[in-house]
């Protein structure tokens, strides 16, 4: 992959993976396709990958990188930065349609609401305002004020209301305007969402989706920059997933809504304007599976959400320096996909975790424990974990930058790991 690009500040880097659109008979994505076919329990999920991804940042750099999995020769040949194919002719000839991540979420939500009349949305400003990040824009007009319910500012109670509605037959999608606000709903999420199915002896299911944006944004201050995945991960009975691209955002949204389990879907404030071309046809992303972003040989880099882009940006530098990192977006924060992760560890023998969580008790900490427990013999070096500092996110831009892992640190960590 000899693609070069110009990074713009700390913004995201381009990445993609593709499949030839002609092979519709079998899932043609690089990793996991064989597993999907052979394991009947997972054959329901079809994974067709997008053909390429473009990322819009403030600097409006557009990239077109085509990865074809392990077929390295094609990799290099196609990995050339080209101009954005915004010309109408080329857009219409390609399969699928282009959209931004928040639109992908909306599309997924809208499709599920059309498909099942029991799916409803609850949250602050989701209705008339269209959602503070526009994820529910237009839905209230289309589905009505009861199906897209503007709630008063009472997170604990409306989350509990969503749980009660889920127990009695509806499939609510509860939005936390910012993930941090869900701290107020912790009582309901922990006690009722996670546990009611069990304490009722399996009588009541809670097919609820709790979603919202979290993560460190642009100088939003400490309370709006929280990463709640570390707080919720111990709650038994819930699943947690984090989306990072328009493709998996739509796929995970749909899978979460269709799941009978309560699912918490973590979005990121800075990723809402990512642009990608996604398939027209119906698809979902498996809630329990990780995503192979870039296969490699030297080191396994595990990441999720926004840090995926920092990792990919570092990956470019690393490739230039001669390293071959394997990048996996773990996507499923609870439970971990130990198969994908394990296979990677068995291949590379070195693991670096890059996350935005706090160091203490974060997802990375759990991941280290899980990998050490299961794959210790395959490791040639101790697992490295780059997390955010255990610091309330400061307002000042420079300080904020230092609390979050930056690509340069990732490069340094890989170099250290591979010595």
């Amino acid at each position: 992959m000899a693609a070069t690009f110009h990074g713009v500040g700390a913004t995201v880097a381009a990445l993609s993976s593709s499949s030839s659109s002609s092979s519709s008979s079998s899932p043609s994505n690089s990793f996991g396709s064989k597993i999907l076919l052979s394991s009947p329990s997972r054959s329901f999920s079809v994974r067709k990958r997008a053909s390429f991804t473009m990322v819009r940042s403030e600097g409006s750099m557009n990239f077109d990188l085509n990865f074809k999995g392990r077929r390295a020769q094609q990799l290099i040949a196609n990995a050339v930065a080209t101009k954005a194919d915004s010309s109408p002719a080329s857009s219409s000839s390609k399969p699928g349609h282009e959209l931004l991540l928040f639109e992908a979420l909306r599309e997924g939500l809208e499709e599920e609401m059309e498909r099942d009349p029991r799916v409803c949305v609850m949250g602050e400003d989701v209705g008339h305002y269209g959602g503070s990040y526009k994820v529910t824009k237009g839905l209230a007009t289309k589905f009505g004020d009861l199906r897209v319910l503007d709630t008063p500012i009472a997170e604990n109670s409306f989350t509990g209301m969503g749980i009660g509605a889920a127990m009695t037959g509806l499939r609510p999608v509860v939005e936390g305007m910012n993930m941090g606000f869900l701290l107020l709903a912790f009582n309901q999420i922990s006690n009722n969402c996670g546990m009611l199915h069990y304490t009722s002896g399996g009588q009541f299911t809670i097919p609820i989706v709790i979603r919202g944006p979290g993560g460190v944004g642009r100088q939003l201050g400490a309370e709006h920059s929280q990463r709640l995945e570390s707080y919720f991960q111990s709650i038994p009975g819930i699943q947690m997933v984090a989306c990072s691209t328009p493709y998996n955002a739509k796929g995970l949204m749909k899978a979460a809504i269709r799941s009978e389990n309560p699912v918490i879907l973590f979005e990121h404030v800075l990723l809402y304007n990512l642009k990608e071309r996604i398939p027209d046809e119906d698809y979902i992303c498996n809630l329990e599976e990780a995503e192979m972003v870039r296969p490699g040989e030297h080191v396994t880099i595990l990441t999720y959400s926004r840090m995926r882009y920092h990792v990919m940006q570092a990956a470019k530098t690393l490739v230039n320096k001669g390293y071959d990192p394997e990048v996996i977006d773990i996507r499923s924060l609870k439970p971990f996909d130990l198969y994908t992760i394990g296979n990677s560890v068995k291949k590379t023998h070195r693991v670096l975790i890059v996350e935005e969580c706090m160091r203490t008790g974060g997802i990375g900490a759990s991941l280290i424990a899980a990998i050490t427990e299961n794959f210790n013999d395959y490791l040639d070096a101790p697992i490295m974990c780059l997390s955010s500092q255990d610091v309330p996110t400061p307002y000042a831009g420079t300080l904020e930058e230092w609390t979050v892992v930056q690509p340069a640190q990732i490069v340094a960590a890989v170099e250290q790991l591979c010595q």
Binding site: I35, S39, S41, R42, P117, R118, C120, G144, L146, R147, P152, A154, N156, S157, F158, T159, G160, M161, G162, I163, G164, A165, A166, M167, T168, G169, L170, N187, Q188, N191, N192, L196, H197, Y198, T199, S200, G201, G202, Q203, F204, T205, P207, P236, G237, Q239, S259, E260, N261, L287, E288, E289, S332, K334, P335, F336, D337, L338, Y339, T340, G342
Partner: protein
Amino acid sequence: MNSASCAAKISTQPFSLNPTSPASHDRPLVSPKPASLFLGSTRKLRLSSSSKLNLHRRSGTVVAVSDVVKQKKSKSTHSLLITKEEGLELYEDMILGRAFEDMCAQMYYRGKMFGFVHLYNGQEAVSTGFIKLLKQQDSVVSTYRDHVHALSKGVPARAVMSELFGKTTGCCRGQGGSMHMFSREHNLLGGFAFIGEGIPVATGAAFTSKYKREVLKEADCDHVTLAFFGDGTCNNGQFFECLNMAALWKLPIVFVVENNLWAIGMSHLRATSDPQIYKKGPAFGMPGIHVDGMDVLKVREVAKEAIGRARRGEGPTLVECETYRFRGHSLADPDELRDPAEKAHYAARDPITALKKYLIENSLASEADLKAIDKKIDEVVEDAVEFADESPVPSQSQLLENVFADPKGFGIGPDGRYRCEDPKFTEGTAHV
């Protein structure tokens, strides 16, 4: 028990800031009865022992519940509030509640059940008065003091006792326990250990009812939800948040406050700035009613109207039932703080004794009828204990079964298979 006296105080919207009657100018600090510890309801104490009508205590403008009250006021001895069948049904339900709870105490001290067990003795009128008016599809949400709510809603005594013994035949397979009674079949949505936690769930169930009617177009869906909770909960945020949402969207829910004046050892009056809970309803746009919770017929009359309101789509109601628990907060509570005089006072107002007296005085039932019911219930409770005793304890295979509705939620193991496909999973020994 005097069903002719309108012991229900009603507070409606226009009067949210004014007392509903001249008499309620009583400030809590003024106690006409020195021995009384619950100043907010002293007036009620005085009047309940008399048979005078207290018409002046009602507010001028009345909505919803007023018709009920007027009806009671003009009741003559010829028209009774209940028929014989209803009377016996109410009696049986209250006796079941009482006998069951007494048996729980026995079983607890014999080491058959453990943990926190909260008994309902003395409050039976509230459970029976409300729940016996519901249909099967209506929902009930309770707190940790939920055994009798479960029984009133129709959960078999065997299932509840087994659950308390922690057996696999319990209504929650032994996984819930005393504080988490659930029944899908009977629409009992729990059983919650943290106070206030169930109120949003109840609000959600009411929301589903409205949603079914308006979005899913199930035109005949008029399911009502009852949320039971105590006086301590009325100082909790979830209570107020849900009053707001329920009134805002006119949800078919009734908020039933079982004000037994004590939250473990904290007197309601020491915890609450304005102890008159029913007044908090109009602040949110719903009627607030205070009723004598030791009188099952009065509770039933109020419940009829509140449930009717909800069914007709007119929105929620807040009903404060003044009641009392004869035992401590839980079986672990030595109950040393409460004044014996207070306990004696309420023991004299035992709802079961009162109903019995009413039935006999109004020739609705004979002593023999009632004794037959007593005996029948004794047998039911004995049978429940036997059944629970003989039931098996859960095996280890049950450990992981209900954590997720879709067990794929345990994820994919290192071998590529879902963990729930691991045979150890069904044995309960899998490491997840």
